[in-house]
């Protein structure tokens, strides 16, 4: 799913400069158990209070982007293993998503091209956009950040057990 920065209703939680880009689920209303959240935090130290339905004991990782902007990925460690990487200017990266895992791509500075390795689908991503890809099949993508300055975060979310991670926003 590609959610553009200007989407109505896409930013579920905007308090004190905190923006939830994507979460599973993005609402506690349905009663689904929380698994992960990806949030943009303002410059500073510490982490603001957890977003809706985030459980106690959540694991958090922070990636720092330009101008002190921080990207936080919080996960339920009993179900999700998270890895975070930052890619910069101009160099293409092959992204492989294993069956049952998820990738979350967040441009922090500059644009980035995300494309299907095997087909014509391609989209330019800009800061404020978020791209989440998931499924029960193996998948190959190519990420090409624009020339410097550009920074793109790629978060890999993998299941801790045997069940595939599936995302319902």
């Amino acid at each position: 799913m590609l959610v553009r920065a200007d989407s109505d209703g896409s930013r579920v939680d905007e308090t004190a400069g905190v923006t939830t880009l994507a979460a599973s689920p993005d609402t506690a209303d349905r009663g689904d158990p929380w698994r992960w959240s990806v949030r943009l935090l303002p410059p500073g130290n510490g982490s603001p209070a957890a977003g809706p339905a985030v459980t106690d004991g959540a694991e958090r990782q922070l990636l720092e982007g330009p101008d002190g902007v921080r990207l936080e990925v919080a996960t339920d460690p009993t179900h999700v293993v998270a890895e975070a990487h930052l890619h910069s200017g101009g160099k293409a990266v092959d992204l492989v998503r294993d069956a049952g895992s998820q990738l979350v791509v967040v441009p922090l500075e500059g644009e980035a091209l995300i494309s299907d390795s095997t087909g014509p689908w391609r989209r330019w991503l800009s800061p404020g956009d978020v791209f989440v890809v998931e499924g029960e099949e193996h998948e190959s993508l190519r990420l090409t950040p624009a020339p410097e300055p550009s920074h793109v975060a790629v978060l890999r979310l993998s299941p801790r057990g045997n069940d595939a991670l599936r995302w319902v926003p």
């Binding site: 799913m1 590609l2 959610v3 553009r4 200007d6 989407s7 209703g9 349905r30 499924g135």
Partner: protein, 357 residues
């Protein structure tokens, strides 16, 4: 419950004549008629005198005359005649609604008049384009409008509800790509190397394997375009047999909706047999949808309040569209100073002449 600051399809052009026609949109009673010059007019269907429906009256010139005591209202909603006296009470005004007539549909703006922009009426040009042949239907669905939106955003139901027409087992085996931009949600599915569904195979005259695709584009809150078709394997979609299904979804009340439907094709344009087969086949499809959603509506009404849908990954577009709709509703409610969400009619304000189509 309803987004009001938007354009809703109120009727087909041919349904609006010099005879008053009643419609209910978002629980608002509306009367439609045409002026002598042929312009469509939409007024509140309730006489300011003693609440008699104006749709039970008659059109006189460019005005509508109440069938009970003869109060006459111009197309701006202002009373121009009270048969029993010469003085016209200042409060004798009924609400008038902005109207746009385009490509065979009458659109009505149900919200704040000063926010109505005719340029925001969606693109429906395929209904009026010589390179496309439309097949049209309109249905009254016994369900809340939300269920129709969900139905269009998740087309895996075709494999189960529409097995003799547009359904095939392979649909749900293929994943979706969802894109959200502004108030538009797009759910796209590509099904490479498959046979055309039964209804299309007949009208397209195809055999063998093709790349099939469908993309629901939902302009929240009231209009979908379903871009569909088949093309040669590995070929661009634009080269193929293309279908544009236009869906105007208009809430009547909490549990019923109007469904305005136009299936436009760029193949077999002049083939009357194809048109007849599609008219019949698509009527079957819509009837199957109407029956299913009516059952679903009953299920939802009977479900305990603390139970919620168990959504799956294929519902991603559904989930996002619901969130956008909820945000739009919340925004309107806050603007109206009504956080609890009750539908509130706009104040009765005299307005200018109706918009031309």
């Amino acid at each position: 419950m309803y987004v009001l600051n938007t354009w809703y399809v109120a009727a087909w052009s041919h349904e609006v004549t010099r005879e008053p026609t009643a419609r209910t949109i978002c629980e608002i009673p509306i009367v439609l008629y045409r002026t002598e010059a042929g312009l469509a007019v939409a007024l509140e269907d309730r006489c300011a005198h003693r609440a008699y429906p104006l749709s039970a009256g008659r059109v006189v010139g460019d005005s509508i005359e109440c069938g009970y005591h003869g109060f006459t209202f111009g197309c701006d909603g202002v009373c121009t005649r009270v048969p029993a006296q010469s003085t016209i009470p200042q409060r004798a005004v009924v609400r008038s609604f902005p109207v746009v007539e385009k490509d065979g549909w009458i659109w009505v703006w149900t919200g704040d008049r000063d926010k109505a922009n005719p340029a925001d009426v969606p693109d429906t040009h395929w209904m009026n384009d010589p390179e496309w042949a439309p097949v049209t239907h309109s249905f009254r669905f016994d369900c809340r409008h939300d269920l129709i939106h969900d139905n269009l955003l998740d087309l895996t139901h075709e494999s189960f509800l529409h097995q003799t027409t547009v359904g095939d087992d392979y649909i749900y085996e293929h994943g979706i790509t969802v894109e959200v931009e502004g108030n538009v949600v797009r759910v796209d599915r590509l099904m490479p190397g498959v046979e055309a569904p039964p209804l299309y195979a007949t009208t397209m005259g195809t055999e063998g394997l093709y790349d099939r695709f469908h993309c629901t584009e939902f302009f929240v809150p009231s209009y979908h375009v379903l871009h569909s078709g088949i093309t040669g394997q590995g070929r661009p979609r634009e080269e193929g047999y293309l279908i544009k299904v236009l869906n105007g979804i208009t809430p009547i009340d909490a549990h019923t909706s109007w469904y305005y439907y136009a299936f436009c094709r760029n193949f077999a344009i002049d083939d009357e047999q194809a048109t007849a087969e599609l008219t019949e086949g698509l009527h079957v499809v819509l009837t199957e949808d109407a029956d299913a959603l009516a059952l679903q509506e009953k299920g939802m009404q009977g479900r305990p309040a603390d139970q919620h849908d168990v959504l799956i990954a294929q519902d991603a577009g559904v989930a996002k569209a619901r969130r956008i709709l909820a945000q739009m509703l919340k925004k309107e409610q806050l603007e109206r100073g009504n956080p609890d969400g009750a539908t509130q009619p706009a104040k009765r304000v005299a307005a200018g002449a109706p918009s031309a189509g």
